[in-house]
Structure formats: C-alpha cells, structure tokens
Subunit: 141 residues, 4 copies
C-alpha cells in the first residue's frame, strides 16, 4: 500500500542515525520491508568494504520495519543474530526482511542483505530476530 | 600493553565508519577490548535514544577487537547475536568485550554494552559472537 | 541422490543420541536435508508438547546435514540460533534445512521446524547457524 | 533457598524429556540455575562425545530455569543462541545460567556449559537467550 510506504519513510526520516547513513525505504507492506543503504566512502571499513556495522544496521532496521508492519508503529528489535557471508562490495546494500511468525506482541523476522555492484547482487549477510511491541519487552532502538 | 592500544587506535582510525560514529578505543589487551561511542544527536533514533545500529556497531566492533587481540590483526566478525535490554540513554555508550574461547582460527567472544549518563552506567545490550582469521571464514567487516 | 541418503542414514544410525530420539533422515541432497522426529511421550515437557530440546536437536542436526552435504562428512555445528514460535504439538516434527552460503571451510544454513498434527503442518521454530569442517573450527557435536 | 530447589526439581521431574536424558538440577536460586547431565553412552554422537543436542538441551533448560527464578514458574525459552567451543568429553556436563537483565515479562540470560572429566572442568559451550512469561510471547518448551 502506498500509504504504508509514505508512513514508513516518515518514520525513517525521523531517525537521525538512518539519515546519517543515507538509508532509504524501498518497499514496505504487510509482512515485509526493503531498506537500501548506499555504500558511501564514510560507511566503509579499512579494506574498502561497507563496515559490518552498516550491514547489521540495515538488517536490524529492516526486520524492525517488517515486524512493525504487522505489530504497529511502536516496536523495537528485542534481539537479532547475523551471519556475514561475503564482503559488502558495490554501490549499495539492500536488506530485505520478512515476518516468519507474528504473535500478539512479538514477531520473528528474517532478513537477507545483498550488495549490489554494477547491477549484480550478491548475498552478504543473513539475519534473524525478534521484534516486540514497545512496553511488552525490554528492548532498545 | 601500551603498544597494543596504539596499534588498535590506528586500526580504528583507518575505518571511515568508526570515525563517522566517533568511536574511541579505551582499552585493548590480550583477550579484551573496550570501545566508547559518544551519543551525539545524529546517532539517535526517533525517541532520542542511541539507535540500535549504534549499539550493535559498538558490540560488533568490540568483539572483533577482542578476537583480534588473540588471533592477530587480520580478523573479521563471522557472526554475532545481540539482545537489547534497555534504551541507550546518556552521554556515551561503552562496549566491553572479552574472549571466551580461542582456537587456532576462530575465537568466541562476549560483550556487554553500557550507557553512561551523569557518571552512572546501565546495561543496554549483551552480545556473543565468532571472530575468524581472514581467509579462514566467509565473514565481512 | 539415493546414495547420499543411504550414507546420511548410516551416519544418523551411528549417533546413539539420534537413535534414542528416534530421528529419521527423510531427505538429503546437495544443499539441503530433512529430519523427522516422532513426538513420543518421553520427548515431551510438562505441558505435553515436544520439549524445546527436541526441537533444537532437530534444527541443529538438520543444519549439520545441510552443511555436510556441501562441505563433506567431517563437519560440526559451530554455532546456531533458534527462535521458538509455537508449541510443537502433533505426531512428529520435521526440520528442513538449507545452505544459504558455502565457503571452503564453513557453510551458513537456515532451518524451519514444523510440527505435524493430523496431516497439517505448523511452523514451530526457525534457526540459523554455521557448520564448519572439522579441524577448521572449535565446535562440538 | 532450599524450597526453591525442591520446587525446581519437581518441575524437572515432570518433564519426560529431562528424565530421559537423566538431567539433575544442582542449584536454583534467584537469578541463577545449574543443571547437570551425565554423559551416558546413549547421549553421544558418532565420535564418542556428548551430542550437541544434549549440550544445547542443557543450556536451553538452564536459562529457562534462571529466567523462571525471576519471572515465575510459567515461562518458556523464546529464543537462544549457542556457540560450541570444545567437544563435550567426560563423565557429565554442567550448565550454569544467570539472568543478565529481567523486565516484567522477559529476562535475558547467559549460560556456560562445562564438561567434567576426572574432576577437571572444561568449557564446551556458551549460550545467550530470552525467557518469556507464558502468554506474553510466542515461544515453545
């Protein structure tokens, strides 16, 4: 739904850290979200790849959006786990998250982060975590 | 060892993303590392706390340092898991990581992230992960 | 390949714990594995569901098989993470694991565990973890 | 408190799977729990070590007890993550779990699993996870 994407982008714009990183919400619908982060020079580590912290930011925020799409706007990531599988090389990364299971107060989500280089995507990380309604958990974000 | 801290700070200074975030290496010795990130306005989310991505960056990078202290400089985080337990409110966060077990090519590390406000610390996240020697794994960072 | 399934079943039969639990390897091919565990009374917890330890055993062993299908027979689970999403109620659980990314010495795998009751499956857990070639890591199993 | 240990042992005795594995609750007090599992032949894998599923059972159940010590008896493990660091060789394993942070409906706990051989302990796994009050989450166990 177009309205949902508009709302999601307003939320993102209200997060100074997401703006510092240059994140963009590409898609947002019930049960899924897609977040893009351009790999600008200041987001790299010493070997020229996107820093792991940028990749995990994208995964974490994408699963928060996916969870929020079914639980409502007041949600946080309670916990997540990420496996880095390849260096994030290219022009941007895109994190695609989906809800695996949603209860009343929590949702379990998964995410894949791809790096895009010259129009070709390669998987750089996979993540899995729990999103909780605020006031139902002990999370931060 | 003072030399080790000097070397660690040079590595940190070579990571553009760590510089963007304003990270500082407070301590670095065999088996442990301590990383501080001031909670500047641009590192916050919409509720005024440090963004979860900043907290997970600190945890991830601190365990990479802890692992690197026993495995050598060419290491990456293969994977990690983080539980956020409280909003990160205050002037800065500090991530303290320690090696739990080190093998030849990998080390398992744990980390606690505290937020410091008016000189008082409160735990905001705990993490656990695997650091691998480059060329031995499939990680990125 | 039929030979692969035969070999996989021989490995399972050589694991006393898998035999104690009554595990069966339903499918085993390059990049994936499917493991079934009947929910016998002695595998339950106090509320009548399959114990979480049975569900995590199935997830852990299924990802070990999936990883072994691409890395060779001498593999161990280095680490994994599991989210329980529903009680495991029914006649049996089935864990389906697939390789997400394989390097030379490690593979990252994901798994879904479903409970089957009266022919109807429901998701009860999702897992993600790292499988390593023996001698390359510090894992056990 | 002695009463707490007595109650904890009654709960364990009501779990058929824990009885099948021969688990014993060694200690149980506010914020911590200690669970022992003798490494009987039927709990091994093909190399003669305790199966990873036994190690993860012990970690999972120990953190459930630790969480239950502060949240009350009706709790489940929502999720956990485990890193295996050494083969579990010896006469028994012991999982020691402690609460890291407790909220109203959830607690985050950590656990170390040691194998004991000829009176000498060695770390074989570390775990971290979330325990939730029943009805507050979507977990199983």
């Amino acid at each position: 739904m177009e309205d949902m994407l508009v709302w999601g982008r307003q939320v993102l714009a209200s997060q100074p850290f997401s703006m510092l990183l240059g994140a963009e919400l590409l898609a947002f619908s019930e049960g899924s979200a897609e977040l893009k982060v351009p790999i600008r020079p200041e987001l790299k580590q010493q070997h020229g790849f996107a820093h792991g912290g940028v990749v995990s930011y994208a995964a974490d925020n994408a699963i928060t959006y996916a969870g929020g799409s079914v639980l409502g706007p007041a949600v946080v990531t309670s916990e997540f786990k990420i496996n880095y599988v390849r260096p994030a090389i290219g022009e941007f990364i895109v994190a695609r998250a989906a809800v695996v299971h949603a209860g009343k107060s929590q949702a379990v989500c998964r995410c894949e982060v791809h790096a895009s280089s010259d129009g070709k995507e390669s998987l750089c990380a996979v993540a899995q975590g729990t999103i909780a309604r605020l006031g139902q958990s002990s999370g931060s974000q």
